[in-house]
């Protein structure tokens, strides 16, 4: 068990998880595609959150907010992100890294607005970075434009932050 933990927290850890997400996503597609698709939809931190929220609201309130066909057809929408929270809590508890870190009002506002905005941009693209990777792996060239956009956005934000530091802020 220690060896596995060392591997995961070491420099090759992300590669292990990258390989696992790639395979899991393909397996999830194989298992769920007959419920409706779309393709290359085995894992997406954005779209699966959207499906979960809108799907539950549609069931509870009778609304018809947009969601992927697979989540519309299934008895419940995709629960991937609930799973991520459960898995994350188990891992954090096991390694005693679970600690409530309170936020100040300013942070609450910034992060809340950040979440709303990131969702708008992400859903326009129809993917988070992970589904972009899956779509690229599925042979879609447009996803590559999206990934290039992400890299440019990261570079742009870093350039702005660095400049504001140099400006004395």
């Amino acid at each position: 068990m220690n060896n596995i933990n060392d591997l995961l927290s070491g420099c090759r850890g992300p590669i292990v998880l990258g390989v696992i997400i790639g395979f899991l996503a393909a397996i999830v597609q194989g298992l769920t595609i007959s419920a409706g698709g779309p393709e290359a939809y085995g894992f997406c931190a954005l779209c699966h959150t959207r499906d979960l929220v809108n799907g539950i609201l549609n069931i509870a309130l009778g609304t018809s907010y947009g969601l992927a066909p697979v989540s519309k057809a299934a008895i419940l929408p995709v629960l991937t992100m609930i799973g991520v929270l459960i898995g994350g809590v188990i891992a954090a508890k096991m390694s005693s890294e679970f600690r409530i870190k309170h936020a100040q009002i300013k942070d609450v506002l910034i992060y809340f607005i950040g979440g709303v905005l990131l969702m708008q941009f992400g859903l326009l693209f129809g993917a988070c970075p992970y589904r972009a990777a899956l779509r690229l792996g599925y042979g879609e060239v447009v996803a590559l434009f999206g990934i290039i956009g992400i890299v440019f956005g990261v570079w742009l934000a870093l350039a702005l932050i660095t400049r504001s530091f140099k400006g004395g802020n």
Partner: protein, 172 residues
Amino acid sequence: MAAGWISKELAVILVPLITLVSGCIIGYLAQKTGFCAIGGFRDYIMFRHTRLLHGFIAMIVTAIVAFFFFHMITPMAFENFPWLVTKGVLSSVPGAPADLSQMAYIILAVIGGIGMGAIGVYVGGCPLRQFVMTAEGSMKSLWFVVGMAVGSVIFYLVTAGFVVGLMKSMGL
């Protein structure tokens, strides 16, 4: 329509369970590894650190291999693989708002990517990382996740219609 490994009747019941299990595995390992796509680009651009970036690249490479492998065994579940050959080089996998031209989807992919990348840097991580930090007890990230949830509804009430209208009015 595509036929997967299990029948449609079974799939509509098992979708929540299958995705819950795969989510648990990914969430557990993401906490152990600190996996983050946007963090990978950030670390590389700032410090030339490649640890997280290698994870993202490994995911793309594995996706190609896994889709190719499963497509060989069960072509019906992966019927449009490889997309650029079956559907055309510039066509998009469904996911973004419907009924737009190829050019519009490319523009949305670039704009959406830039927005995600920039916001991700300011809040210190991509959406998956925010979920994992929430699981570690970060209240900031919890509010980010709440923002994402509210944002999913706002997108369908406001943004999607606005952007589709804007794209169409520009002749895209």
